[in-house]
Symmetry: D2
């Protein structure tokens, strides 16, 4: 499978940045889940660029549900969602010269598709496809919510500026999900946006780290080895353009500790078995342990920058200098977090359906 | 799929730490690949514990190939490998009380398998299964080598002590593959082992970071989104017990840079398109760009420590104190690197077979 | 995977009979394949009902390609096709009583989807979805044709009237593909249509057998056991609504022969190894042998009939009598053959891409 | 996947006729299922050749369970089963000439594996591998039995001699499962065996039809289109060597009926919805309807016959005449039925686990 994730609940992506539409097909999701178009719209809004910290290409992201929803509820059969591309400026493109944008997939797509790729605006590799992920994700998040499972992501770092750590996860998830620029320490937001604006002014871009917390997910879900929860989540998370790292719990920081510090001691608390710390991010041996599931991703700086860059013309096989024009994001970390929530919800829905059956997500 | 990785070339794992055998079934590997039992043995030796920095349970790891090899070559049909467990001390286990070892899968396995799991020595969740990964991996590595593709891993950090970075990858891969304790800066080895021994003396354990480099892998391999090379590699790498993070190229460090620094500028060099730097680890948009593929994993400290730990008896649902006895590794990072090479080779074989067909790995 | 077929080249179906659209997403198909909208239209025309032997619900089947085609060629990324439903008569449906149409999926869909299914016109189980299969199939058939592989299907039997057997397959495939009612013996066509019309007049319906021949498919493609060509083809063919049997070569007739008659003796002919007969349908041990691939399917009579039928009201759990109204096909065997060609082409494209790599279908 | 079937519960096969062992790995089966070695042995006995109607190569089929069973119960982790080959006569084989046995996979395996295949006794394509299917199948059948699901197969026809139809399925399944030569009309057995013996005497072989009935399987299981129960069962059944046709319910006979005869009318009986007839074999729209699931397979005559046959030497690319020596079955239909039961049980376990979750088969 190439553009499809999932075994019991699956998501298939399609579309190009400058083609007629981007979209997704959900399959295997239980029947009877209410589909709230307003919530889908609200989620798409979080992903949509706005202000000086984003590109000025703004799509209205009007989506059409082509199948799988009847009388406002999922039917259990495939849900196809299409989001037409409207605000497209497909200038004339040269057929004899083409410059690879460094950090983008232009050149690798060319190698793979032998020149038949739709290269306009990154084509199928464009972040534009994440609009489809977010629309589908809204349905997954609704399904989880009805089961008492909440997902939230904060910008753990942006342009080197750190946010504070999670402390009271349930309320923080709720707060984060109401924000457009999702940070735990609200004062960081202005420092981060200032950094993004400064980079934008400089014709440059910045990256960041996104940390996600999941609460309410049952213990005992996941598989050993290749089917581990970490394997599943990371496979899906690395499909988000710009993600270059994934870690669970304290992740790379664990590698410098001793076992006596990194092991999470267990205890019985209120009759329930928990761990006193959660450095392993709620997963042991690939299986959920009932603690919050915590992971973070490294988001590299947006590769589209206005600074002049050395590159090649891959049709002519010649060195070249690139000066990008057009509309670009100086950062996408604040927009990507709703994509990360959506991808997370997809994986969790699939895991629950595998573990407890195809009806398990019925409200 | 649970204990199986791969679409065109696949690996299925089986076994328990204290059961009759651990093993693996390879399917889809091309016919005609020479199977060198001595190389398999040599690889198993790298994984085998030795000296004061490892457990004293030493298995001879005599493997049997039950199928798929004929006259010394792969046949193209499934290769089953069994490695009997011999040095097993299955003491009497209590049926009325059982203490979860913190950081292990004891409790999560119990939740998932409802008490039917073979809990002895971690059962199916034991690092013992990586012996099967390494035996299979030797065959994958041989197949890649015949195609000019080399894989090597160094201990980038252990107990907080860093190794130096890759500089001349081809010769360094060769050197690393000849070492038992694989570091680029040979002097670091003694510092790291001293740290491991100190932790052992203290009844504690340490972790580390493993960094892998792949050279000779063709450009234009991989898929967008869910089928990205990063998705595939990370899914497989997170199946190695103790891995809690995976990053490509500069990974998390990229998140603090600006785009003008993190984008790898391209140039034509000797008629070939390359990037001047390789901060993205040889992958753009999920597809290989022809540069070395570089990634690293966070290996948490071995959870089995001799220090007394707070835990629970999960049969009785009571708090308890655990004092481990037996034979345990104060570090596994030095043993895990051959597992990482093996897993990497599996993924690359699968990617090549998907991209170029089932015969592509024939020498 | 539920509504998805294929590993290297895949097809995902979506839609309901009375919803906004039916459609499909193709993934993994090679770049550079010309997409001929006229051919897609011509194929859809073969599936479209016409005359007294078909339903009077006629859709214009105007399709939109939402992605994956650029400048008239496949890009290599997902191709989404949507076919809006236009000629829909969604009468008021009762919420308190609902009669299962015998032979349809009404009742089983209700059991599976707990009442949330879109039951109008059979919903997702409607033969209407095969329009999407045919549109996608046109692209698969074009890809195969460029590789010298031709697929053709004749109505081997309809309402008990047999067609003659294949004799000169290459010219016969060409002739069949130009027909609307595909038979080898043109005189049978009028006898068969008379039978269909008689059944229609009687408020009843008839079934038939569809036999497909494939030429030009390379030898040595397929896998042993679960990956056999027969397994793959049958799995896909049984997804066509109304197919209740699949056989390869002489199929069930082989079971009554002796080995000396059913074995196809081999010979060298013109330097090439062939079989003198082809009772096994071009497949031995699950792998193509270079002879034409031949198989046939049993198409049951269309379940929608105007004769009064005993059934149940599955909302009330009561016996009932059903008198169907509306627009229905007295036979679908003549329309289904282009679906069978399409499904066959999907499977063969997937097999070739798995065997020879993702670029193999580039012209 | 090549030698693997299944999504939630899977089976992977390995081995060659003359290699060290044949075997299987089961994954995803629920924990807590009792593993009854005597029942596995009894099932293997049904598959084992005996008397004049079978080959004289008799293996004792002593199996070893290498993993996944602990204290007599499944653990939920992979179950590896190995059955060593003992009674092997691997005579010297020529390296310069090799005759394709007509009807076998010798030549197609050679095309696919380029001469590296283990050709001795058919290698990986040998019916010997079905011993591993039967051993695994015994565990699947036990799991189903504990859930009230029974599977039984009769020889519906052998050498053209028909058995009578099912009439009282529950008691007939029980009776069939106690027989070595499984027919409903016991008097047919002697007629059939006489036919087999006559063919054997003549150096020839015969085929047959196997019909399977399943009772107790819940309604509402299966998926539309590519995930239909018919798709799943047929894909698995066509992996049995010698199967050339699969039909559900009345199958090909349905194609000659009218809709008023082939539709199964529904009725409420004892408060439960059933169909008055079961011509569709318990499946509508790919989903079980609660009636017995009925299907049959066409088993071609055993291709190994002693009559002289025209063939080719595929190493020399020359015509040749083949006179087989050795030990061969004049019929395998009576041995194959326990394979068919086993394959059926595999598919049903997988379907149930997908539908109701991974614990659903716990007793």
């Amino acid at each position: 499978m190439k553009n499809t994730y999932g075994e019991s609940v699956s998501l298939t992506l399609f579309g190009e940045s400058h083609g007629p539409a981007v979209g997704a097909v959900i399959d295997g999701l239980a029947p009877g889940i209410p589909v709230d178009n307003d919530f889908i719209r609200a989620q798409l809004t979080k992903r949509r660029p706005s202000g000086r910290i984003s590109t000025s290409r703004v799509e209205d992201d009007e989506f059409e549900i082509l199948s799988g929803v009847f009388n406002g509820f999922t039917t259990g059969t495939p849900i196809a969602i299409s989001i037409p591309n409207k605000n497209v400026r497909s200038a004339d493109y040269s057929d004899v010269s083409r410059l690879a944008r460094p950090g983008h997939a232009d050149y690798t797509a060319h190698l793979k598709y032998h020149g038949f790729e739709d290269f306009r605006g990154g084509g199928h590799f464009s972040g534009r496809l994440t609009a489809a992920v977010v629309a589908a994700g809204a349905i997954f998040l609704s399904a989880l919510k009805a089961k008492g499972i909440a997902v939230g992501t904060h910008i753990k770092a942006c342009a080197g500026i750190p946010d504070r750590a999670f402390s009271d996860i349930p309320s923080e998830i709720e707060a984060l999900n109401a924000m457009n620029f999702a940070v735990l320490d609200r004062e960081t937001a202005s420092v981060m946006t200032a950094k993004i604006e400064a980079a934008a002014k400089d014709g440059d871009s910045v990256g960041g780290i996104l940390e996600t917390a999941v609460i309410g997910f049952p213990a005992g879900v996941g598989e050993p080895f290749f089917g581990s929860l970490e394997s599943k989540l990371s496979a899906a998370l690395f499909s988000i353009p710009a993600v270059k790292g994934v870690q669970f719990g304290d992740g790379f920081a664990l590698s410098g500790l001793t076992g006596s510090l990194s092991n999470d001691p267990l205890e019985v608390s209120g009759g329930k078995i928990i761990t006193k710390t959660n450095r392993n991010g709620g997963i042991n041996g690939g299986i959920s342990n009932g603690m919050p599931i915590i992971f973070s991703t490294a988001i590299k700086p947006t590769p589209s920058i206005f600074k002049q860059q050395d590159t090649v013309d891959y049709l002519k096989n010649e060195n070249a200098v690139l000066s990008l024009k057009g509309r670009h994001d100086p950062a996408i970390v604040h927009r990507a977090r709703v994509v990360q929530d959506s991808i997370t919800a997809l994986v969790l829905c699939d895991e629950l359906a595998q573990r407890y059956g195809t009806d398990t997500l019925m409200p």
